[in-house]
Subunit: 523 residues, 2 copies
Amino acid sequence: MKRVYKLTLFLFVAGLSTAFAQDEKVDLEVIDKIRNEGMNNSKVMDIAFYLTDVSGPRLSNSTGLKNAQNWAVESFKQWGLTNPHKEEWGEFGRGWEIEKSYIAMTKPYYQVMIGSPKAWTTGTNKQIKGNVMLVKIKSDSDFVKYAGQLKGKIVMMDVPSTIKIGFEADAKRYTDEDLAKMASYSDENPAAKDTYSPKMIQEYRARAAMANKFREFCLNEKAALIISYGRGNTGTYFTSNGASYAVDAKPTLPEMEVSAEHYQRMIRLLNANIPVELEIDTKTRFVQDDLKGYNVIAEIPGTDPVLKDEVVMLGAHLDSWFAATGATDNAAGSAVVMEAVRIIKSLDLKPKRTIRIALWSSEEQGLFGSRGYVKQHFGDKTTMALLPEHEKLSAYYNLDNGTGKIRGIYTQGNKTIVPIFTKWLEPFANLGASTVTLSNTGGTDHLSYDALGLPGFQFIQDEMDYNTRTHHTNMDTYDRLSAEDLKQASIIMAAFVYNTAVREAKIPRKELPKAQEKATGSK
Amino acid sequence: MKRVYKLTLFLFVAGLSTAFAQDEKVDLEVIDKIRNEGMNNSKVMDIAFYLTDVSGPRLSNSTGLKNAQNWAVESFKQWGLTNPHKEEWGEFGRGWEIEKSYIAMTKPYYQVMIGSPKAWTTGTNKQIKGNVMLVKIKSDSDFVKYAGQLKGKIVMMDVPSTIKIGFEADAKRYTDEDLAKMASYSDENPAAKDTYSPKMIQEYRARAAMANKFREFCLNEKAALIISYGRGNTGTYFTSNGASYAVDAKPTLPEMEVSAEHYQRMIRLLNANIPVELEIDTKTRFVQDDLKGYNVIAEIPGTDPVLKDEVVMLGAHLDSWFAATGATDNAAGSAVVMEAVRIIKSLDLKPKRTIRIALWSSEEQGLFGSRGYVKQHFGDKTTMALLPEHEKLSAYYNLDNGTGKIRGIYTQGNKTIVPIFTKWLEPFANLGASTVTLSNTGGTDHLSYDALGLPGFQFIQDEMDYNTRTHHTNMDTYDRLSAEDLKQASIIMAAFVYNTAVREAKIPRKELPKAQEKATGSK
């Protein structure tokens, strides 16, 4: 998941940076071993294969996610990790999966369409056939025009086409210039980082709110099914949810997402008063035998008598969206962190501190797995009531930006860490990773740590085709993975974790955030 | 259709070029009118909408092609063209269309797949379900391994993945450098033009031959269905035919083409000995009420008492493949030639020679529509027995390379035409069209004219995403069309046709080809 995150720079103790830089040691012999194991004996693509092709789509609490979790626990056992287990993080809700997905246009002529039910919506449970009604709603006052007209209808909203001819490459890597910009990021120069503009966010929210009103309206009007627009192009579409995963969620209409080309054709035909008939047959299943959420946890115990009680964590979310197998979001990150612990374990590197891997779940619904874990182990971010483990964690490293290789690391505004990470990246300059930025990045599980004042980091990764083709799409398949990139990332992840585990002191922290005051004017 | 075509330069009368260049006149006032009408009152996108979205896929002799042909005849009538009609060009065979197309993986988990029946194959006519068998055949001797094993099975061949991460843009336009290279093309400098290398052609033919052997084998072994690999990526796949359109063709197995990602996943799973189960439900229909093939023909009669018996033709093939609506191949070209005659007719330009438009059919199966027409009207290319109309044709202009704007024209080695076309393109330099190349181009209907020594030309068009996304794919939809490009092409097409119609002399010809001698050693 990618979200917008406002930069907040924290105070830091001036002068510390230089001191750290001079003292920082890296065991280059170990780094060489890690690099050799990761390059020449890599299992990262095998791991990715099992997490994607074999396990299937891994929507929260779906069978696919359970398959992948169970396989990860088994793998950790086989690799000799300590206490691999699924650890409950709290109540999630229902899993959901597709058992049948068929949609085709039958008039004015037959063409099968690319699409699927939206997450957590019900299916038709039989083949239905009917004309499509195009609904044009720009503002609240437009709803009244359609009152009493949607009963039993297949309905869709008029939306402008987002399809463009592909003069820009789907995939890109960061240029030296991009990276220099990130490296130069500071309080005074904060322009480098902003994924979405405030205008884009506002528009997105307005669209989402209108879509929800439309859903409610269609339900009340007893429409048969909603067709919604799958942003994307040339056969790739971005998926999302159409209903709640809550076990007591209100019933919804069946809803299908359809690829942009097939959606826009219907709009054009209907605008020309040419009837469009569809046949649809979908079946979805709610998985509700266990509503709790689980993370997969395993350890390589520390070997230093004192430091072994301290912990360095690495993690990635294992859950995904449902229309493909979540290869880059985020089997890629999961495979890399698994491969990193496999490398460390297989080399028998004897870390001083304990290394703990976490494969989160329900990241896609709001970082739930990592937030639950952090609350159970480290403390409550609202009250800032901290638990004893809070003091014992050195750092958490996360990977969740696709298949691109690591180009550096975001420090989340922690200036004291810059010289340390700069030193640690030195051996990897020839693998393209040397940028340390004060900028923060959002949208994934390191935020759960950062929110509690714990050092939590996400690496800078080459973007590749994450935003155009893979992230939440029906095409986020194993084929999108770059073996060379994932090998590189595994090596750097293993090195950072190892360095953290053997470092004399824990990773320096930012100042603790303040407890959140109760918002006034809301319950 | 794009095919490889060997360059053959013809003899020409030296010195003519200069003479023509000096004499050549262009009525710039008319050109301005054409440009104004084409830019400010364009109907080209409306035409394209009716040919694609409204008519549907236009495989030879399918209902979609008939829809488009009938609509074109009606449009020509409405525009006031003379004698619009469907003209039989000979016997084609059966049309074919899809009535149901559903394929999904049901084990190890459910995921719907992107795919469709291959052209002219039969359907399953009910839902079938079964495990997939992966067949590894590299050479003829491998077949024996599978004898007796395929009965009732869904089978697929092991093929290497062609999927790449998209670091290159799907679409491109010709650069000034590209165009300069084309312009510099000569007998001495023939390297500029070669779409496919001999190695690529050889490999393609070897694969096609092996696929046919495999089909035959599967039929004899009584397999249930063949899944074949749809080249392409991220939801786009290239379609083709899996059986013959001949009315007396041997029966074949049902065969489906599946997008590369979904195909490669099955290969990976099966190679890891993980069973893959599919459910498939397809229905196809052979259209055989009329096996003949038709072109759509209409005219704007010439107004000069003498020259009106001479003819200038323009054309494009209206037939397409079936998995989308053939927008760039070749509703685009059809819309442009239709718009060009609409412009000329609506401006009441009074051409001296008769202008005749042709919308060909069955181009995709071997330029059949245009070949049939040329044979009926102009002569037999094998014997070079010419008909009286051969003398009356000035030139034929074709458009069939997608939605890209016109950048110039191929002269098919006719050096005498270079100064004429150079002059005619002058008013369009500021629209990006100024290149005249001696190079020829192949793969489409101007070849039918060229083969008989008639001046037949195809324009140079910007490639756009023709080879990556549109040409013969499931994503060749209206969305792929660029309105600005098609407007420009319509204007230039209209201007060339008009210039040819009012020019003092007919377009100079190359030397007549020789009658083809009977090939020795073959029947």
